[in-house]
Amino acid sequence: MVLLEVTGLTKSFRGLKAVAGASFAIETGAIVALIGPNGAGKTTCFNLIAGALPPDAGTVVLDGRAITGFSADRACHAGIGRTFQVVKPFVQLSVLDNVTVGALHATRDVAAAQREAWRVLELLHLDHKAGQLAGTLTLPERKRLEVARALATQPKLLLLDEVMAGLRPTEIDEMVQVFRRLNRETGLTILLVEHVMRAVMALAHRIIVLHQGRIIAEGAPDQVVRDPAVLECYLGGAPA
């Protein structure tokens, strides 16, 4: 069953086409990775879906509902949860409070939201830090907090923006395990924009490759990494 359907997504910046007619679909319960060299348009694509940018053309349909051009908060109401590439914790609030803000999207009752926040923190192994100020966390912890906060909004689709960047191999593996478990246990659909191939290969059911704003390959991980077009755009050939 298709959860997210993106059709003909296009966005230009001052004449430069960042995303040129991208179309793809994501099934419920799948983990899909969006990869591509720098400047390929991954982040723009991500922001178009997440509601941070309005597209010039094309549609984004989530769970049968058009969310094209929705602002970030409306996109959240529709079921999108997202993290930021440069993490944005609420520094002066505690870890618990950070996630509670997210949980308050699904419920108005603060006590219920706090309980849900605890649950999510446990899932992400951050419960022991619940009382600490978010500003005191290490980078991997902040990344997990970011994910926890987005999860607490009970999204249908979780968008991860280069969440593995800056993490050490062991930390990457831990994050991969967390997402794997989430996907397995709750059926959470995940779209991740990622550079770190280690994580992509370990997590993704399907990979979409973007290059100069266009999709040049799509499929199972082992197929995609052997695809000559993909190899060419990553390793050389025509200048990007």
Partner: protein, 329 residues
Amino acid sequence: MSRSAPALPGRVRVGLILALALLLAAPWVAGPYLLSVLVLALYYAYVGQAWNVMMGFAGQLSLGHALYVGLGAYVSATLYLHAGIGPWAGAPIAALVSAGAGAVIGFLAFRFGIGGVYFALLTIAFAEFTRIGFEHIDWLGGAGGLFLPVVARGQLDIVDLRGGPRLFYYVLLALTAAALWLCSRLKHSRIGYYWLAIREDPDAARALGIDLFRYRVLAAAISAGMTSIGGTVIAFYYNSLTPADSFGSAKSIEIILGPLVGGLGTLAGPILGAFVLTGLGEALRALLDATGHQVPGATQLFYGLVLLLVIKYLPNGIWPGLARRLGLG
């Protein structure tokens, strides 16, 4: 730091009870001068808390809050003088008018994406515009302002708020306590969480489904409405109001000194700040009087210095350090 109400250590509890007893008994033991100082301190504690809702909670800097003090004063005074409507009914009406004004200003500003210093300037502009406007409206008294009939000594009319400092002391004490309660409830409610999120990181807040515009306007309206009640009370206390006194930019600055010195965004900060500043200010004035010199501007200069020092060395105000020392949170 958990945001549920902290369990207070024993000695703090005792201290609070003592303080409360003192506060309740004060009008009967304090002399008239001290009482007037306390009334002023409570007034600033109250309006400081009201302002804090917008700045400390929602992060919007308003430097024109005297607008709402003035609206509260003028609406209720006019209703009393021209329509015989007493302040107990006049205050809520004035509060609604002010909340409306706050919502309009908030709407205009946030709809057009104005924040930071531009928003602060916008609030100043609205306050000054209104001040000058009121100075030219003759049936509101023009620049000379309005006068409420002064009461005979010893007369106590609670319904019309005609009475001596003792009456106003208790009214302001009750208001400050009510504001404290309201702010505490707000802070621990969904609205409070959302306001803090907006203050901390608006983009992240939006991604969590928070409608920035709605909550900012709400903060502006609530803050404005609360402030205006203070304006009503102070007008009936002084029995006179002028546009300069009510809407003046100096007044707007006075409102924010308490919360800044005491601690932005905290519950106790505005109250602490108001008492500290008013107390020190009066002490300075008393000191100068004792030397025989009446130096106009000395207290304001002093406040300026205090503000400078606090901003430079205690940017979070006095309260957070004090709270840590007392073992709270």
